[in-house]
Amino acid sequence: MTDNKAFQAWVGTLPADKLKPKKVRKNIELSLWERVYLIEVLRGLAITSRHFFGNLVGFVVPPKGKKRKIPTVYYPEEKAVMPPAYRGRPTLVANADGTERCVACGLCEKICPAFAISIVGDERQDGSRYPGSYTLDLSRCVFCGYCEEVCPKEAIVMSEEYEGLCTTRRGDMLYTKEQLLKPVDQLQKRIDYVRRIYAKCNY
């Protein structure tokens, strides 16, 4: 509800002409100005050459400390920073003391549309449950994010990892619990995000 109010406040700051739906010209009849194609051609050329010269400056030698105008990320040298909404490799959340949050309820195993997760539950001395083994077959995973949506303990979330996920051997794609565990402070952003979207939509 608070989000909605914030949204309303934001809408209130917009100028009136921005709120009007944009007019789409559906008539096929062209004006005489557009019919004389040459002028429109010149306008088009002006637009494209503006981009060309704008990008040419600082293209051969990029200016120091200035951000490039071209949004391309030079991949192996630069890595794109993924937003929290990005669904990368699923990871198990590890508490500060290194234990997993997972209680082996099996909801993620049940919801998983690709049957990628298999859990063997176990019980500690004090009676608390934990997964004895938690296997995620990444060759089956479709990165849908149902597991994190369904998880009652915020124990599995999608991380922002997107590298090194493919191998030439299927055995390497079976991730064990130890491989899946990741400290909670690295995943806090995603946990907050998950809390926000699913709390708003579902409950």
Binding site: L38, V41, G44, L45, I47, T48, S49, H51, F52, N55, L56, F59, V60, K69, I70, P71, T72, Y74
Partner: protein
């Protein structure tokens, strides 16, 4: 006799190395890089030698190595002879045409008159036309001999399109010839020593018409119907690979250079700087002695000419990456119903102005 022969050979080598050695490979890079910059992309920049990338300038070399080591494939049922002949027919006119385009004026070096044009023909412009019309065969034969429906359609479209725009182009240039009173391209260049007699001021409509027709003759977007990749795979050269494909490709790029050369010569003062006559250039460099002055003036003129040519190449590339492709009936309508009447009107107006 010997001096004349060496002069001609030197000029041929010069033009050949500029066109085939510089423009043809570099234009592939320019096309990729320029389109990238126009669309806010980066473009090819990965080819490297010892990790030196130099903004992707090694890509032409990489392309050449790649394409030369590919299999030269002739499809089943194709006409082998014509399939092999077609790329040659497409490339040769593009190279030969530059023979009559002057890339500099006339100079006196060590008592020997030098004219910077390979063949100073009396019918220079008609020579260009003749070879431009012959370049149709490469495309048509390539399309026909591939035994492929897409290729055949591309060839048919190319023949119809090039035939149509040749007519309008010829009629457009008649206005230019009426103004200059000569078909010899060196004469036309000489006349444009005076800035206010540049073709663009005397034939503005003619320039627009000629440039449009020239792009259509070149079969590049927005007139790339013969190779419309969204409709015909790759049009007439769908079935070509390896060196033969490169020949089509080089023919297209050299045609761009040739067209830019013709436009420069006819409409944009050939080798002249605005407001600077040849006499002024020579006297400006008078300190270097008579031969040195002539050489320096020659150098300036050649550089000016090729700078103009490069500008028009840039302009053609910009047009190619700006405008969407015309539909086929639009191409035909533009050619026959717009450009042709406009060319006739241009001749008419030019005639009236010349008479008055």
């Amino acid at each position: 006799m010997i001096a004349d022969l060496t002069e001609t050979i030197v000029k041929i080598l010069f033009i050949f190395s500029i066109n085939v050695g510089f423009y043809a490979p570099i234009l592939g890079w320019v096309e990729r890089k320029q389109s990238a910059l126009m669309q806010d992309r980066v473009g090819a920049n990965r080819a490297n030698i010892f990790n030196f990338k130099i903004i992707g300038l090694f890509h032409p070399i990489a392309d050449a190595v790649k394409v030369l080591t590919k299999e030269d494939f002739i499809p089943e049922g194709a006409d082998k002879f014509f399939h092999t002949l077609a790329p040659f027919l497409s490339l040769t006119p593009a190279i030969v045409t530059f023979a009559v385009i002057p890339f500099g004026g006339a100079y006196e070096l060590w008592g020997h008159p030098v004219k910077l044009v390979i063949a100073d023909l009396n019918v220079g412009m008609l020579f260009i036309f003749a070879f431009a019309s012959l370049s149709t065969y490469g495309v048509v034969l390539g399309g026909w001999s591939s035994n492929n429906n897409w290729s055949l359609l591309g060839g048919l479209r190319a023949s119809a399109q090039m035939l149509s725009y040749e007519v309008a182009m010829g009629l457009t240039l008649i206005g230019v010839f009426m103004v200059y009173g000569s078909l010899r391209l060196t004469d036309i260049g000489m006349i444009q020593e005076n800035f206010f007699r540049w073709g663009i001021f005397m034939q503005p409509l003619g320039f627009v018409l000629f440039f449009t027709c020239a792009i259509a003759e070149n079969k590049r977007a927005p007139f790339d119907q013969p190779e419309a990749e969204s409709e015909l795979v790759a049009g007439y050269f769908t079935e070509y690979s390896s060196m033969k494909f490169v020949m089509f490709w080089m023919g297209e790029f050299l045609e761009i250079v040739t067209i830019s050369g013709i436009v420069t010569t006819l409409f944009f003062g050939a080798w002249h700087l605005p407001f600077v006559t040849d006499q002024m250039l020579v006297s400006f460099f008078a300190g270097a002695g008579p031969n040195g002055a002539a050489l320096l003036a020659m150098l300036v003129n050649v550089v000016v000419f090729f700078a103009k040519v490069s500008f028009f190449i840039w302009l053609m590339m910009t047009i190619r990456w700006t405008l969407p492709r015309f539909r086929y009936d639009q191409v035909m309508r533009l050619g026959w119903k717009m450009l042709l009447p406009l060319a006739l009107i241009n001749i008419f107006i030019t005639g009236i102005v010349l008479l008055v």
